[in-house]
Amino acid sequence: MKKTYYIQHAILITGVILTLAPFYFVISNSIRSNNEIFRSPFAFPQSIKDVFSFTVLKLTGRENEISYTVRTTDGEAVLFETRSGNYAEAMSHQWHTMTDGFVYAWEVLRQYMVNTLFVSLTTALGVMILGSVTAYIFARYRFPGSGILFYVVISVMMIPGILTLVPSVQLVTGLGLRNSYLVLILPYIASGQVFAIFVLRSFFKGLSEDLFDAARIDGANHFRLYWSVVLPLSRPSLAVIAIMNILGTWNAFMWPFIVNSDQQYHVIASGLYIMSTSQVATNYSAMYSAYLISSIPLLLLFVYATKPFIQGLSSGAFKA
């Protein structure tokens, strides 16, 4: 008996379409001029329609029918007009309409992008190093107070961010850390490592004792045990922790918004919000372009990390 899955597919495809539809409109608006967005926000982009029809005219040899007019101010004067075979010029104008928003958005966003990349990668690295070392110590060694210390660390998971938001801002202001990268990186590592320690410790505990004995017979010291036995085995878990960390950093909005007010330290999230409240906001084309641009790094991350992410999540470490 062969079962068919039409219903399942139908439901899932509807879900995919509904989930992705907003992004279609973001893309279509990002390649249009502001005037066009004002007047017909949900229509198909005029520039693409134009590019197609111009190309058809060019291919069929009716190049002289290409006509494209732009009125600008200064009375009723027509400043740009292509007729009779000016394919290249008309196309270049379309190209500008499509990319103007991106060009301007990129100028504003580039610095935010670099900041976010730097902060998220440094944080992820810090979390992986501190988290794995501390988890390793807690998992494999017993020393006076180790049990209590571990619960002290884990108890941080119970402290909600909202309780510490206000005093944290005062603290970093007092430490003179505001408007710097450190004000993001240090607290992110501090809070991010806790989850890593929690997950990795139980993972390390579950590792077979034979592995360690074998390495010790080979004369490995404590550091080598960690470096060449433990770390390679925990790569899938570390990958998930790193990805979740980067995701978290990339989405964090409130903290950077409050503590870093200088233009040069904005990250993507706070930068986008500030764009949306500043004068750029009325440049819709640039705003939509900015949304798209800001998604590219994570898109790349996902293209390469989906498999390990899915594997890691399925490994059983992530459940309550």
Binding site: N34, N35, F38, R39, V70, R71, T72, T73, Y104, E107, V108, R110, Q111, M113, V114, L117, T173, R178, N179, I258, S261, D262, Q263, Q264, I274, S276, T277, S278, Q279, A281, T282, N283, M287, L300
Partner: protein, 642 residues
């Protein structure tokens, strides 16, 4: 296969690095924000000034109102550095908002010069965060020739003396340098008005009548009832005009009081408005109403009783601000029952706002990015006819290539003073009202009918007996023209960081240079580069030409200044609760009585905060209050003290 993958990935990484790599100084255009913010500081520079010119004039940005990247202040700064080689100026761009300001100033890390609203400064003057500018403003301007404006005192260089000098803080000192002016106005679609056969209203009742006609949308009705053929371009105009020969159509147009369109723009406008059943008579938003709307109506209602309630006569500020009610006066008057639910004028203010609200756009909140409304967008697509905007929009309208209708600028009309209505007995007043106006409930006692309207409004609990008042009148109107509500736009302050070289303003060399930079920037030829490059504001420096489109606003600026500014008088908590509850009230979330209750509580909390924070003492106010008693006795609508 493996190598292909490695090559591919490294290629991808290389592209990413290439894109993200900071562009080198050579390839970056000088006017990009990046190079502006990272201008090299020359080795010779002994003094480095940090300057935040504010959102509108930050070089390297591209505001929607400008035609290219801004570079005005960049050029001013370069000229200044050429003149003073020992000085370098660094631009700083930062988020605005009071939170930012307070942390920066309390930490001493604020830019030396920044642009902030005067009311923000007034809040904090007692903390020593700002440098008073009086001694510089009173002294001769060092860079102007003799005989020129400014050669005797820097002050003389400015056009709008009353508004600029009126920015002195309540401690009598001047902290803000008013660089230019912003003004609000009503931008309107004149094509629609001329199709309706009217011109811009001169009184409030006229305005309400016109807004009402627009809301009824006779265009839609005409297009629905009669098959009107719209011409597609000028060649169809003649045929379209022939339609008017149909007697039925002619009669319908006459009946609706609509003129038959003649020109292409008129036809287009007709068609656009006739497409929708509803059209928005007036575009505005919650921000405008809470700030400007409140102040303008407040002025209309309270200007007439100012002689009886203006308690403080500040020798310096009074001559420019003419009866301006400062926060201490408002706090004192609040203790006397003003600006509470017991104050009939205060209640009247919010009743009028609600009446007026019927003609506004449905969504009043924020900009479009908040799910709110983009007024400009609604205006240019002709979905709204009047728009309460500022001088900042004119430039965009002028530069819009697709704008196909005639637009003009004017100002809100005044309320006519009620002639004798307040002295009428309630019974007589009710008799003058048209029958369709709601009558009071049956429990209305005859005793109430024998009170005067004024006494009734002051003494009777209006929750149970709302006295019907016609929508286009205000019972306590002063009858004066609407005042100016905009005023100073870019206001530069010099902060405590400006003298951090010596820590003492009198010996600081840096402070001297900072002031010189401001003086230099306020020379006509320099101010022209800045103010007219992104023409959203009206220049305040003599000798700077007025750009096209700003003239109507310059005219509006000649008016009298407002009686007070509510939004910035108290603290952020007051502002926030006020804006929120006003919006909720206007959106029908709460009733007028509930709103008055909220607002009374909000104001009394704000008054307590400000008394505590500023250590206000009402010394002399009580005596002055008693002295003005006879003046007040002749006035109506004065709340009774408790």
């Amino acid at each position: 296969m493996k190598y292909v993958r490695i090559t591919y990935r490294s290629l991808l990484a290389a592209i990413a690095v290439y894109l993200l790599w900071p562009p080198s100084a050579q390839e970056l255009p000088e006017t990009s924000l990046e190079s502006v913010l990272n201008r090299p500081v020359s080795d010779k520079a002994e003094v480095v000034i940090e300057f935040d010119p504010g959102n509108g004039y930050m070089p390297g940005t591209l505001p929607p109102t400008a035609t290219g990247k801004l570079e005005g202040f960049l050029n001013v700064v370069k000229a200044f550095e050429a003149r003073f080689p020992d000085t370098a100026v660094r631009f700083r761009q930062s988020s605005t908002g009071r939170e930012w300001l307070v942390t920066q100033l309390s930490g001493g890390t604020a830019p030396d010069i920044l642009n902030t609203n005067v009311e923000n400064v007034w809040q904090d003057v007692h903390k020593g965060w700002y440098v008073p500018l009086d001694r510089f403003l009173d002294a001769p301007h060092p860079f102007v020739e003799t005989e020129q404006p400014g050669s005797e005192s820097w002050w003389d260089l400015f056009i709008y003396q009353a508004i600029s000098r009126g920015k002195a803080a309540p401690d009598g000192k001047m902290y803000n340098l008013t660089y230019d002016m912003v003004e609000t106005g009503i931008l309107y679609n004149n094509t629609v008005l001329s199709l309706l056969g009217v011109s811009f209203p001169t009184t409030w009742s006229e305005m309400i009548a016109i807004l009402g006609r627009i809301q009824e949308n006779p265009f839609y009705k005409l297009a629905q009832d009669h098959s009107i053929v719209f011409p597609d371009d000028a060649s169809g105009l003649a045929d379209a005009s022939k339609q008017y020969e149909r007697p039925s159509l002619q009669m319908a147009f006459e009946q609706e009081g609509v003129l038959f369109p003649r020109t292409m723009p008129e036809w287009n406008t007709f068609r656009i408005i006739a497409e929708r059943q509803t059209t928005i008579p007036m575009l505005t938003n919650e921000g405008s109403i809470a700030d400007w709307g409140t102040d303008l109506l407040f002025d209309q209602l309270y200007y007439g009783i100012l002689p009886g309630i203006d308690l403080k006569k500040d020798p310096i500020r009074e001559q420019y601000l003419q009866g301006y009610l400062d926060w201490d006066e408002i706090c004192f008057l609040n203790g006397k029952g003003f600006f509470t639910a017991r104050d009939p004028r205060y209640r009247e203010l919010y009743r009028i706002l609600k009446e007026w609200r019927k003609y506004w756009n449905r969504t009043l909140s924020g900009g479009d990015q908040r799910g709110g409304i983009d007024l400009y967008k609604e205006f240019i697509t002709q979905r709204g006819v009047f728009m309460w905007g500022t001088s900042g929009l004119v430039n965009r309208l002028q530069n819009d290539p697709d704008l196909a209708f005639d637009w003009q600028i004017s100002y809100l009309p005044r309320f006519e003073a009620p002639e004798g209505v307040l002295d009428l007995l309630v019974d007589d007043y009710l008799a003058t009202l048209p029958a369709e106006v709601n009558r009071p409930p049956v429990t209305f006692s005859s005793e109430m009918g024998r009170m005067s309207v004024d006494d009734f409004l002051r003494k009777v609990d209006q929750t149970s007996f709302p006295l019907p008042i016609s929508p286009n009148t205000a019972l306590y109107a002063s009858g004066v023209e609407m005042c100016v509500i905009g005023g100073a736009a870019t206001q530069y302050v010099v902060t405590n960081s400006a003298y951090n070289d010596t820590g003492d303003p009198s010996t600081s060399r840096k402070l001297q240079r900072v002031i010189q930079l401001l003086q230099f920037a306020s020379l006509p030829e320099q101010a022209d580069k800045v103010v007219n490059e992104n023409p959203v504001n009206i220049p305040n420096v003599k000798g700077v030409p007025l750009t096209r489109g700003m003239a109507p606003f310059a005219e509006i600026l000649e008016r009298r200044y407002t009686t007070t500014k509510w939004m910035f008088t108290f603290d952020n908590r007051y502002n926030q609760v006020y804006r929120r509850m006003l919006l909720l009230y206007l959106e029908d979330g709460i009733t007028l009585d509930e709103f008055m209750e909220w607002q009374t509580d909000n104001l009394s909390a704000a008054v307590q905060t400000i008394i505590r924070r500023k250590n206000l003492s009402f010394e002399g106010f009580e005596d002055q209050w008693m002295a003005l008693e006879p003046v007040r006795n002749d006035m109506s609508g004065i709340p009774e003290s408790e």
